[in-house]
């Protein structure tokens, strides 16, 4: 953070909000400035500068998630045009390792948060449901890395997954019942029994490790 005297206070505030340590915040801020080109906010175009992101098949979805108001906890839907550092940290905090010492409830909460992030990525129209169309979309993008798999295959995979989800969440369906999409509750059901703790997190650097790296 800058050299202003309020900086430390600001950092402390961010620490409380996002759970990052001040070292990590400082490191992330450096990266943030690098991404934004010393601007106070990041726009979508800034992500084009990340070269390694190019190869990511679901790149657009991920970038979009950074600007999703639901993830930024700013509203039920819509996209932000630009995000400031605090928003950036908010997004990043989704990827913090779950602190298992906090107790059952807290773990469950942060698990839910992480899943919500994923859910929002699937649910692109923010209606609280992953419809078949949205699911297909994601699968197509996931498979877009392999040019030999046709869109049709992606579709039927999505269809199959949807059917599976339907059978997991609803069980037996009435003859005229239509499964409209995966709601967040259903989504949690699908994830039941899978250790997300070991999956959705990234190592955030502390200052010491950075010193080692550079």
């Amino acid at each position: 953070m800058g050299a202003t005297h309020s900086a430390s206070e600001e950092v402390r505030e961010l620490e409380g909000k996002t759970g990052f340590s001040s070292d990590q915040i400082e490191q992330l801020h450096r990266r943030f400035k690098q991404l934004s080109g010393d601007q106070p906010t990041i726009r979508k175009e800034n992500f084009n500068n990340v070269p390694d992101l190019e190869l990511n098949p679901i790149r657009s979805k991920i970038v979009r998630a950074f600007f999703d108001n639901r993830n930024l906890r700013k509203g039920p839907s819509g996209l932000a045009d630009e995000i400031n550092f605090e928003d950036f940290l908010t997004i990043m905090s989704y990827f913090r390792p779950i602190d298992t010492t906090l107790g059952e409830e807290q773990v469950e909460l942060s698990r839910k948060e992480k899943l919500r992030f994923l859910f929002h990525m699937y649910d692109s129209d923010s209606d609280g449901r992953i419809t078949l169309e949205e699911y297909r979309n994601v699968v197509e993008e996931l498979l877009s890395g392999n040019p030999h798999i046709e869109k049709e295959s992606a579709r039927s995979i999505a269809d199959g997954a949807m059917m599976e989800a339907a059978s997991v969440c609803v069980g037996q369906m009435e003859p005229d019942q239509v499964y409209e999409g995966i709601t967040f509750e259903d989504f949690l059901k699908i994830w039941q029994g899978i250790d997300i703790e070991t999956k959705m997190h990234v190592r955030f650097l502390n200052m010491e490790t950075i010193a080692l790296c550079h």
Partner: protein, 897 residues
């Protein structure tokens, strides 16, 4: 006369003997003429292999006996039982022969018994999990083993200095270090045997197990270095030797891994070219893996590491290359061999322990060793975990550490190594042998027995073994990408980044080099899971279909044929899946006629199974998706339909892939077909053409309704390329078209004129087309409709069962379904097709699939799948006029081509 027959009888016997031992030849030469030898006892010639077989048999029988009682095996690990059995057997042998025989020989152990176990564990190692935890595994394997070896050795030496070990144990510091090095390594066989039954969570399992595999390199090095130091005598050891010892650690471990990877590469590359000789695929896997083991052993590198890396490295490519059947064969053979070897090892361990001539007891040494290995193992684990937890994102908690310390089982490797010691150089060998036996027995029996209750008592997180679901796989992939992306954004190149990188590299170069092109094209994990799930569903479904059929108690005369049909269909499905996965045309080509027939059979069954009898359908769904108790609601339309759609769309996509693969290779395929014709298999060629023409018809009707012009143009192109084929098809079409024109009465164009190729007319896509109402075929499957109807709709069933038998009497008439039926039936399929469209909108893929597959003519599923499509179509326009117009259009199209 009698003499000659006797002589003939003797010959095979003598021959059998001769194959075992060449000495037989000389023996028979010296003997009087063989005619007199009515019966000869040749125990010595067959002794060795006979004994081996006998021991394995005894071990297997013992296993069967153990597993007769669920209670015993749930409480006591098998390895314990086997060791105890070995003790008993050894005692018997000792009592009878007055000397201990059949012991665990180090040579046998290292060359024959160990490799299968290690290969099995390496090949089936969850590689993702393994590499995710590689850091921890390596730490425990290298640092942990070194720590254990040195501390145990030094502590024992200290014990001796303190006078707690009897003075008759003549050993110096180096001897104790040597002993420490061989006793400190956690044994993969023992760990696997015990932990497989305990079901701890997978992270814990992979750490303990990975450690036990990788620490072999360290053990081998330590053992060799210490052994040579002991042989040199401590006075002659110089500083450079220590340096060499350290260097050899790297040479042995990295060298072993390199040998393994080289062989993995070779293996993957070889299996790329086995397309025409599928039968040797499993053999190749075993041979090359074994070659890796022996090569590493020869170069005195770590053989265990070599074979582990070989299995780990080749699996992905080999699995993609070899056929489905070979995969099954590899899996079962590997498991059989490993389990066999494991059984024998534990049994022989028990037997070896009986031989008191080999060991000498010293309480101080034994108790001291036991205490030290437990204590230092625990201490080492705690220290290392503390360090590791500074870096691990998911720390290992206290309970994990307890299990890890307690799970440090020693086994046959230590025993074999201690037997290998040279008594002249290591005077205390007998004491070491005794101690090792006690340690092994203690860890395997006591710790093995108590680890299960301990795990339960500590409430260690167990692994929940659930089947992989498509959703899970998709989400995990998404996760991987998200994490890689976040690491990119954060600008820190962590683990996810490098894995991402590796996957890119693998995709770009390695897979391209090592995978058969057809396999490479469709290679995708998500797709794999999807494919596997579908195959599983389909198999269980067909299985169940057969089962339900036979259990309905139908007493129609053709009942037996139905049952056998169900079986052949399953095999067919397997084969199909194999060829589907590898997209191997050969499988189809080699068994042409048989396959066609099976196709017909399969089709009938699928017709019956897939689209009609709901009850069966339900049952199979229930197995995978719905909890067992939910079966009461058997008549859930939507779900059923979903399943149906899923199978359909699965089929279609499968062939989509065929299509993508075939596109660039059309020429080649054409050649193949030419070959086929050259073989003058005209009769077989014809039905193919018919099948082809079939698809053409579908293409058109569907095209009129929908969709995606670009794709259709592609298929057109493709059709153009397969010219030879098309030309024949059109002529056939012409012929048939005319005939169908003459039989105006028929509601469908698919009339079958009695022609020389009539034998093929039972092919379902021919006859089935006509009598859509019942989906009945002309010959074998007359029951299908009846049976289906019972499941389908009770009221209609009576009508149908009455109506369908006539069809069977005159095959040519099958295309003329009774009109009332034709009218009654359509509602159902229409409903079926209409409903899911609104909710799921599956069908579009079907149409395209149909088109895309027009090329692969010998392809059965295509027809199977088109069948319902055609069915729906024709139901909607049941009048002969429209049907004929379809026909004409199709015909025209064929002409244009």
């Amino acid at each position: 006369m009698l003499r000659t027959t006797l002589l003939l009888l003797c010959l095979p016997l003598a021959g059998a003997g001769a194959t075992e031992e060449p000495t037989q030849e000389s023996g028979s030469l010296g003997e009087p003429p063989p005619g007199l030898a009515l019966f000869r006892w040749q125990w010595h010639e067959v002794e060795a292999p006979y004994l081996v077989a006998l021991w394995i048999l005894v071990a297997s029988l013992a296993k069967i006996v153990f597993h007769l009682s669920r209670k015993v095996t749930s409480l006591v690990p098998e390895s314990c039982l086997l060791i105890l059995l070995g003790l008993v057997l050894g005692g018997i042998v000792l009592a009878v022969a007055k000397k201990a025989e059949y012991q665990l020989e180090p040579g046998t152990f290292f060359l024959f018994l160990l490799p299968p176990i290690v290969l099995d564990s390496g090949y089936f190692m969850p590689s993702r999990l393994f590499f995710d935890n590689l850091g921890a595994i390596l730490t425990y394997a290298v640092v942990g083993t070194l720590w254990n070896a040195f501390t145990t050795g030094v502590a024992l030496w200290g014990l001796q200095q303190a006078g707690l070990v009897a003075s008759r144990v003549q050993a110096g510091l180096l001897d104790f270090l040597l002993f420490g090095s061989l006793i400190s390594a956690v044994d993969p066989v023992a760990v696997l045997a015990v932990f497989e039954e305990v079901h701890v969570n997978e992270t814990l399992f992979i750490i303990v197990f990975g450690e036990s595999l990788l620490n072999d390199a360290v053990t081998v090095v330590l053992y060799k270095v210490c052994n040579s130091f002991v042989e040199m005598g401590s006075a002659n050891v110089q500083a450079t030797d220590y340096m060499k010892g350290v260097a050899s650690l790297f040479v042995v471990s990295l060298g072993g891994a390199a040998v393994g990877l080289v062989f993995a590469f070779l293996l993957a590359l070889t299996t790329r070219f086995t397309k025409r000789v599928r039968i040797i695929e499993p053999l190749l896997v075993f041979l090359l893996a074994y070659a890796a083991y022996l090569t590493a052993e020869m170069a005195s590198l770590s053989a265990i590491l070599a074979v582990t890396m070989c299995g780990l490295g080749c699996k992905k490519y080999v699995e993609a290359n070899i056929s489905h059947k070979s995969r099954t064969a590899v899996k079962y053979t590997m498991k059989t061999l490993a389990s066999c070897a494991e059984t024998v090892i534990f049994m022989l361990l028990g037997i070896s322990a009986v031989d008191s001539s080999k060991w000498a007891w010293d309480s101080g040494l034994v108790l001291g060793t036991l205490f030290f290995i437990l204590f230092f193992r625990a201490l080492g684990v705690v220290l290392q975990t503390w360090v590791l937890n500074q870096f691990r994102l998911v720390p290992l908690d206290k309970i994990d550490q307890v299990v890890m310390s307690y799970g440090g089982l020693r086994g046959a490797v230590a025993f074999a190594l201690v037997i290998l010691l040279d008594r002249t150089k290591v005077p205390a060998k007998d004491y070491f042998v005794a101690t090792t036996i006690v340690v092994v027995f203690f860890t395997v029996i006591v710790q093995g027995l108590t680890i299960k209750p301990l795990v339960k008592w500590l409430k260690v997180k167990r692994s929940e073994h659930h089947k992989p679901t498509l959703n899970q796989e998709l989400h995990e992939h998404t996760f991987d990408h998200i994490l890689a992306a976040v690491e990119d954004v954060v600008g820190h190149h962590g683990y996810h980044y490098w894995r991402d990188r590796w996957e890119q590299f693998d995709k770009k170069y390695l897979s391209q080099l090592l995978m058969r092109r057809s396999a490479y094209r469709i290679r995708d994990q998500i797709w794999d899971v999807y494919y596997r799930l579908n195959i599983r569903d389909a198999i269980s479904f067909v299985d169940q279909g057969g089962h339900v059929l036979s259990s309905t108690g139908l007493t129609l005369p053709s009942m037996p044929s139905r049952n056998s049909m169900a079986e052949t269909s399953v095999t067919n499905l397997l084969r199909e899946s194999g060829s589907g996965a590898c997209l191997d045309l050969q499988v189809i080509d080699t068994v042409r006629s048989g396959r066609d027939r099976e196709d017909a059979v399969m089709h009938h069954l699928l017709c019956g199974g897939l689209y009609k009898p709901r009850r069966r359908y339900k049952a199979s769904c229930g197995r995978h998706f719905i909890s067992e108790d939910a079966q009461e609601r058997q008549d859930k339309e939507v779900f059923q339909q979903n399943m149906k759609r899923r199978l359909e769309s699965f089929k279609s996509t499968k062939h989509n892939i065929c299509f993508t693969k075939n596109k660039p290779r059309t020429r080649k395929a054409g050649h193949k077909k030419k070959d086929g014709m050259a073989n003058a298999e005209a009769t077989l060629e014809k039905p193919r053409d018919l099948g082809f023409q079939d698809t053409a018809a579908v293409i058109l009707t569907v095209e009129s309704e929908e969709e995606e012009e670009s794709d259709s143009s592609e298929t057109e192109k493709e059709d153009d390329e397969g010219i030879i084929f098309v030309a024949r098809a059109t002529s056939e079409v012409l012929q048939e078209g005319k005939i169908s024109g003459s039989f105006e009465v028929c509601p469908s164009p698919r009339i079958i004129p009695p022609s020389p190729t009539c034998a093929e007319k039972e092919l379902p896509w021919k006859s089935g087309q006509g009598d859509l109402a019942v989906y009945v075929s002309s010959e074998t499957t007359k029951i299908v409709p009846v049976d289906m109807q019972t499941g389908w709709n009770q009221s209609i069933s009576s009508l149908e069962s009455l109506a369908s038998p006539p069809c069977t009497q005159a095959p040519t008439l099958t295309c003329l379904p009774p009109h009332p039926l034709g009218i009654e039936e359509p509602q159902v399929p229409l409903d079926l097709s209409a409903d899911p469209r609104s909710s799921f909108a599956f069908p579009p893929s079907l149409a395209k699939a149909g088109r895309s597959r027009s090329e692969s003519s010998a392809d059965l599923p295509q027809q199977q799948e088109l069948q319902p499509l055609m069915g729906h179509k024709d139901h909607t326009h049941l009048s002969p006029g429209t049907a004929n117009s379809h026909w004409c259009i199709q015909f025209n199209r064929g002409g244009r081509l």
